[in-house]
């Protein structure tokens, strides 16, 4: 028997002076195989033509459709309504600037993070394009590709109590990127460089191991393992800092 879903959606357009934040509840007949992406489109086609939400790929690859679904961050396109109770609440991701309704600006946030942590390969020298690339062992390539699966959807920031309390915290998305470049032999940065980027309370030492990121990452990235690996490395680097200083004296 098909259910009638009751979908409550956060509505607000901060650029419209007449708009006030409110919850709007719509009823919708559930269809087989329905995702929240389909449900939201049905509502926009029928009763809420001005409803704002973001989608690009519809397949859990682009990370645009992250939202808070019944209190927990997740990707709307990969969430089957069948997996949810009849009453569904949808909110925009907390921690990002609201564009309107369920649409948030993760792009600016991610861009600032990338610039702050320099999340690109720092080559030691200009590559010679006529030469073969240095080979990478399949195991290591796999490890790097595993971390590269991050789609910057913002769910880890919305899932992190620390990031919600302390907006300067780089979160799992930032730390995972440092882990990815720390693994990559093509990146010439060493731990002294990594420590400058994340060796503080806005970086790895701010992480309180609440494990929201690990539990709610839609891509199921191995974030706990990466955070622990970085923490050990950065703690070692911090200790090294003390001994180096003594050596210089």
């Amino acid at each position: 028997m098909s259910r009638t879903l009751s979908i409550s959606i956060f509505r607000h357009n901060p650029r419209d002076p007449a708009s006030a934040p409110r919850m709007e509840t719509h009823e919708l007949a559930e269809a087989p195989g329905m995702t929240l992406f389909i449900a939201l489109n049905r509502l926009r086609e029928s009763v809420a033509p001005d409803l704002s939400f973001d989608f690009v790929c519809r397949a859990g690859v682009c990370g645009s459709c992250a939202m808070v679904i019944n209190g927990r961050p997740g990707l709307a396109c990969r969430t089957l309504t069948a997996a949810l109770p009849e009453r569904i609440s949808l909110h925009p991701l907390p921690g990002f600037a609201l564009i309107a309704d369920l649409s948030v600006d993760t792009g600016t946030w991610m861009r600032e993070l990338a610039e702050r942590l320099e999340t690109w390969v720092h080559l030691a020298a200009e590559p010679d394009l006529d030469l073969l690339e240095a080979p990478l062992s399949p195991g290591l390539a796999e490890e790097i590709h595993e971390l590269d699966r991050c789609i910057e959807c913002g769910c880890c920031i919305a899932a992190c109590g620390t990031a919600q309390m302390r907006p300067g915290f780089v979160g799992a998305v930032g730390l995972n990127k440092i882990a990815r470049f720390r693994l990559d032999p093509a990146d010439s940065r060493d731990d002294a460089d990594h420590y400058e980027l994340i060796g503080n309370d806005q970086g790895i030492f701010g992480c309180m191991s609440l494990m929201g990121c690990e539990d709610l990452c839609p891509k199921e990235l191995p974030l706990q393992a990466q955070l622990a690996w970085l923490r050990r490395g950065m703690a070692r680097q911090g200790l090294r800092g003390i001994f180096d200083k003594k050596d210089k004296k």
């Binding site: 060796g199 191995p222 800092g241």
Partner: protein
């Protein structure tokens, strides 16, 4: 013109790493100490003589041939300092203002996420210990000779310390258990390669150990309350182990 004198400035501070390590290490030592502490306290469940032996052991009685209670005072001072260091470092992580409290409470409320809720329990139990632990520590530091089967029982019952000990027991065991669990996750000491399996096993071990020490603690406190109740008319009388008592006159 001569070149100006220059000296290199440090690129970055190593303090954040040191503070993080110190918080973890002080927590680890305190949590392990509390487990040992509970084992020693539970000697009362074996016999009054066993409790007397444990108490005198830490006063060096079996090494120096006489009890030196100040040894206990020194040790308590060390533990108190460790607690102060841990509290100071942990305070950095407390929500600091209304906005932060609202953010973490709303977040925990909407996500219904177990480990986040456990962290809030850490904050609450840690805060409670700021006030409860010093009462106990000060008594132990200033009156170390009053640790023994009758002496402790009188403090618990006639001295009306049992409500403090009852609350402290729950605060310590929950805070320490969750803290050790979080330490293992934080530094990556998981009992399995796979995080999911490792965490499940850790969580199981954590609850089992917490339950064990809570039961042991409740049983020990119960034993001291019972002994204190029956010893109340003679409160203040020190305990003499069975083999040192004069044979009663026939």
């Amino acid at each position: 013109m001569p070149a100006p004198a220059t000296h290199a400035l440090p690129r970055v501070s190593h303090w954040p790493a040191m503070l993080d390590l110190a918080q973890s290490l002080s927590g680890l030592l305190l949590a392990l100490f509390m487990w040992f502490h509970m084992c020693f306290v539970s000697a009362i469940l074996l016999s009054e003589d066993a409790a007397w032996i444990v108490a005198r052991f830490f006063e060096g009685y079996f090494v120096f041939g006489r009890a030196l209670p100040w040894l206990v005072s020194v040790f308590v001072a060390l533990i108190s300092s460790l607690l102060a260091v841990h509290a100071l470092l942990a305070l950095r992580k407390f929500p600091a203002d209304w906005a932060q409290y609202r953010a973490i409470a709303a977040h925990s409320d909407r996500t219904r996420h177990g480990d986040t809720l456990l962290w809030l329990v850490q904050v609450a139990t840690g805060f409670a210990m700021f006030f409860l632990a010093p009462v106990h520590l000060y008594t132990m530091m200033t009156r170390p000779e009053l640790i023994g089967p009758f002496e402790s029982a009188d403090r618990v019952w006639s001295g009306f310390y049992w409500p403090l000990y009852l609350i402290l027991l729950f605060m310590v065991e929950i805070h320490g258990g969750v803290g050790l669990y979080r330490l293992a996750l934080k530094w990556g000491w998981l009992p399995a390669r796979n995080t999911r399996d490792g965490r499940r096993r850790l969580a199981l071990a954590k609850w089992a150990l917490t339950a064990f020490f809570l039961i042991l603690g409740l049983a020990s406190l119960g034993a001291y309350m019972k002994l204190g109740h029956s010893h109340a008319p003679l409160a203040g009388e020190p305990y003499v182990p069975s083999w040192l008592r004069a044979e009663p006159a026939r």
